[in-house]
């Protein structure tokens, strides 16, 4: 049985080896068209002909350029483009046939590099259909950057313009939604000129649906983006290279036997280092921070955690509302609604009033209770958070970007800041693009302070500001990073001050102190965060925290619960760092995969 099967397999192999390239289309113009016009004596102004010839000559020139859009990139005011990004894009286009693993260290702008390649391929007609797959939390950032920095209008699934998979040439989808059978089938029916996979380490396991999806897509060019191609062992790197060039490294067993020394699959045979260098440099581009230090200044993030003692009235209001929420929680009331009440209550007094109003409208509390608690809120003259923030602002004339999750809090901060004589501008998610641009312009020129309800910001550059205030705290760590990422990006020359606020005893204080501060979340980069939280079901983290907070019968119990969660995160982060550092030392640091050094080798 086995032997028979064995020979069958080899026969099939031979059959495939004999496969010829089948798809060769040669198109000559038929005798109609221009020829027909001539016969009908239809002629045009010779200027039209000159224009046509000129445009095709320019097009031919651009198609044969190393990177046709270089000049426009350098002149683009909406984005800072660096040499290593241009060189990486050139190498992808001219040497790697549009297929590569972009493995730059975190914070060096892999997204921008991919955008450059996409723009180049679209501009010169090498691509028409492009698919980008990214984690859901990064979709808005991709969309913003493509539109505001590269003038490319990608359609994502939540976009009102979205019709179906087949209707859009420029499509942006989350990894997970693309694996739904209906979508996956539709995606696999299309020939994609280019597929880009962000945070591609999530494709590391060959058995997952995500990996299978990318493998089965019919595509000409593929870009995989990750700062950490390896977390556990070399099989992960092997699996990603398999996506790029199936068979390039042989079978896993062959690769393992030839190049790997240890059973943990983490050590490479030093005798074959040069051979592997050649192999990897044909598929991977990796620029390190060390290489770009001469022209990029990397600033630090300095977190300031302000957990303030609430006033008696603030404490009473928070406790009363929390008690209502807790009671409802045990009655199995809709937990999403309860989380919203709790988040509003933690944000500001004004937002607490909004929570009370919602509770009344949902008949969670009666009119009398509503009036009683609203009256208590009205007796709070100024939020403790605001008083503290005001003192900071009064002593510093530099610009501040204040974030809040809620319009009620935004209104509250704005009203009080204006009364204190500050020049303030607002940024709201629901503003039109023109309104947003106008608001950003005001912030850049006149206003000292911007109060924003969106973590986004339409890909705009806020590098002129280096102070962030988290007036309230998103419970989603990725959102926290997106807020900070508005100002802390390549090109920021100052250290970024991150001011975080919470009132003692509130759920946010526990999240801030026992989770975020413990793992130094405010210093982590997006790639790292994604690695840490990639296994968490969307919204699952927040539900867990809320549950722990609701179940805690006293302060100590809540502290204990959150400490356990924090410890778990801390261990996870340490293990992750250890694994990545170890791999970099044993593998990546042995190889030169940089576009910069290759350019020098070529004498440029």
């Amino acid at each position: 049985m086995n032997k028979k099967l064995f020979y069958t397999v080899i026969d099939l192999g031979n059959c495939l080896q004999m496969s010829e390239l089948e798809n060769i289309k040669i198109r000559f113009p038929d005798k109609f068209g221009i020829n027909e016009k001539l016969r009908n004596k239809q002629v045009h102004n010779s200027e039209f002909l000159d224009l046509t010839l000129q445009s095709y000559k320019i097009l031919a020139f651009l198609k044969n350029e190393k990177l046709a859009i270089t000049e426009s990139l350098k002149a683009n005011k909406n984005v800072s483009i660096f040499d290593h990004q241009i060189l990486a894009a050139k190498r992808i286009k001219n040497e790697l046939s549009g297929t590569a693993l972009l493995a730059d260290e975190v914070g060096l702008g892999k997204t921008i590099e991919a955008c450059i390649v996409i723009k180049e391929f679209l501009t010169i007609g090498l691509a028409k259909r492009v698919l980008i797959l990214a984690p859901p939390s990064l979709l808005p950032q991709w969309k913003d950057e493509l539109r505001s920095k590269f003038n490319l209008d990608f359609v994502s699934q939540n976009d009102p313009k979205f019709i179906d998979i087949k209707s859009h040439n420029l499509l942006l989808l989350s990894h997970s939604s693309a694996t739904y059978p209906e979508k996956a089938n539709a995606l696999q029916d299309i020939f994609w000129d280019m597929v880009v996979v962000d945070e591609a380490h999530s494709m590391k396991n060959a058995e997952t649906q995500k990996h299978q999806l990318v493998k089965n897509l019919i595509k000409r060019n593929l870009l995989l983006l990750t700062a950490t191609p390896i977390q556990n062992n070399l099989e992960e790197l092997y699996n990603m290279i398999e996506l790029l060039h199936p068979g390039y490294l042989g079978s896993w067993k062959q690769f393992q036997e030839k190049y790997i020394l240890d059973t943990n699959v983490r050590r490479i045979n030093p005798a074959l280092k040069n051979q592997l260098q050649d192999i990897l440099s044909n598929v991977i581009i990796r620029t390190t921070r060390k290489e770009v230090r001469s022209y990029i200044k990397f600033s630090n993030r300095i977190p300031h955690t302000n957990i303030l003692e609430p006033t008696e009235s603030e404490r009473k209001l928070y406790d009363e509302i929390t008690q209502i929420v807790r009671n409802l929680y045990f009655e199995n009331y809709n937990s999403l609604a309860l989380m919203t009440y709790q988040r509003l209550t933690s944000s500001s007094t004004n937002a607490s009033k909004r929570a009370l109003y919602k509770m009344k409208m949902n008949e969670v509390i009666d009119e009398e209770r509503f009036r009683e608690l609203t009256s208590l809120a009205n007796r709070i003259p100024l939020d403790s958070k605001f008083s503290n923030l005001q003192k900071i602002l009064e002593g510093d004339s530099s610009k501040y970007l204040i974030f809040t999750e809620f319009y009620a809090t935004q209104d509250y901060i704005q009203k009080n800041l204006l009364e204190s004589g500050f020049d303030v501008t607002l940024f709201k998610g629901k503003m039109s693009l023109d309104e947003k641009n106008e608001s950003i312009k005001r912030f850049k020129s006149n206003s000292q302070i911007m109060i924003s309800t969106g973590a986004g910001g339409e890909g705009q550059n806020f590098q002129f500001c280096h102070n962030i205030v988290n007036y309230d705290l998103p419970w989603n760590p990725m959102k926290v990073e997106q807020r900070i990422g508005r100002v802390h990006r390549i090109g920021q020359t100052n250290d970024v001050q991150v001011h975080n606020y919470a009132l003692k005893g509130t759920i946010e204080a526990y999240i801030l102190e026992l989770l975020f501060t413990k793992i130094q979340l405010f210093n982590m980069a997006l790639g790292e965060l994604d690695l840490m939280f990639e296994d968490s079901v969307s919204g699952g983290l927040q539900k867990t925290w809320f549950k722990e907070y609701m179940m805690g019968t006293n302060e100590q119990e809540i502290i204990n619960k959150f400490s356990v969660l924090g410890e778990d995160w801390k261990n996870r982060k340490e293990q992750l760092h250890e694994a990545v550092d170890d791999f970099n030392k044993t593998v990546f640091d042995n190889f030169d995969l940089s576009a910069l050094s290759r350019d020098e080798e070529n004498g440029n």
């Binding site: 086995n2 099939l12 080896q17 089948e22 798809n23 289309k25 001539l38 045009h44 000049e71 002149a75």
Partner: protein
């Protein structure tokens, strides 16, 4: 002419040709577009420059490769497919048809070039003319054209084009075929190796596992893996065919009737 001059020339000539009202001050151009082009450009006036420094200082679009306006102009111009009349300075009654082609070879690698073929109208044979040509406002030469000759000239131009590009075409296809074969061999040998490894492991286990039910399960699992690999192999072959599919497009983009 360097590319930036060509781009500047194309942009300004295009805007003049479509009758837009253009003004220029300190390197900044403002063009008011005629009604029929407003929706195409998405605005009724465009403000642009060809100088990077000016673009930065005056906040207007820099027209360079990658700019949206240039892309729109190139797309518009390349769709015109025009025919025009010209003559050479010391011309007689001889007629030449000049066919302009854009030759685009695309696959996993790409190459593009512009090429023109001159055909003598009477002999219908290729005959390259080097003289400078001038726009001809007199269209009396058109009346001399006969349908069967036009077709014969056209056919001759295609034959000449084919002959000129024979080697380039063959080399391009060979290059892509080689690249296809390389990719094919890599993945076939990788899949075959894995299938062989699974197959051999069944044989090895048969010598070491004596429990028939465990062995049955082991064999079943490996055979399932082998089936999946075979399926993957065929899917990848399809994908590889698509990736390397060759499109050699000889596009006729314009034609001139030249009186020489």
């Amino acid at each position: 002419m360097e590319i930036s001059r060509k781009i500047q020339n194309l942009t300004l000539t295009f805007l003049k040709t479509i009758d837009s009202d253009i003004s220029e001050k300190d390197g900044v151009y403002v063009a008011f577009l005629p009604e029929q082009y407003v929706s195409y450009f998405g605005q009724n006036q465009i403000k642009f420059t060809f100088d990077e420094k000016t673009a930065d200082e005056k906040n207007c679009e820099l027209i360079v490769p990658g700019s949206k306006i240039l892309y729109q102009i190139i797309t518009n111009c390349s769709n015109k497919g025009p025919i025009s009349l010209r003559y050479t300075e010391n011309h007689s009654d001889k007629l030449i048809l000049r066919y302009h082609f854009f030759v685009n070879f695309s696959s996993s690698q790409n190459s593009s070039e512009y090429y023109s073929v001159d055909i003598d109208y009477n002999s219908q044979q290729p005959e390259k003319i080097q003289d400078i040509t001038i726009p001809n406002m007199d269209n009396s030469s058109l009346s001399k054209l006969q349908a069967e000759n036009i077709t014969a000239c056209f056919t001759s131009s295609i034959e000449e084009l084919k002959s000129q590009f024979k080697d380039k075409q063959r080399n391009f296809i060979e290059k892509i075929k080689k690249s296809f074969q390389n990719d094919l061999e890599l993945f076939v040998s990788r899949y075959d190796a894995e299938i062989r490894e699974l197959d051999e492991s069944i044989n090895e286990k048969e010598n070491s596992i004596h429990d028939p039910s465990i062995m049955r399960e082991y064999r079943f699992n490996n055979l399932e893996k082998i089936k999946k690999l075979e399926k993957d192999k065929l899917t990848l072959l399809d994908s590889l065919q698509e990736k390397h599919k060759v499109d050699l497009n000889f596009e006729l983009i314009a034609c001139e009737l030249i009186q020489c």
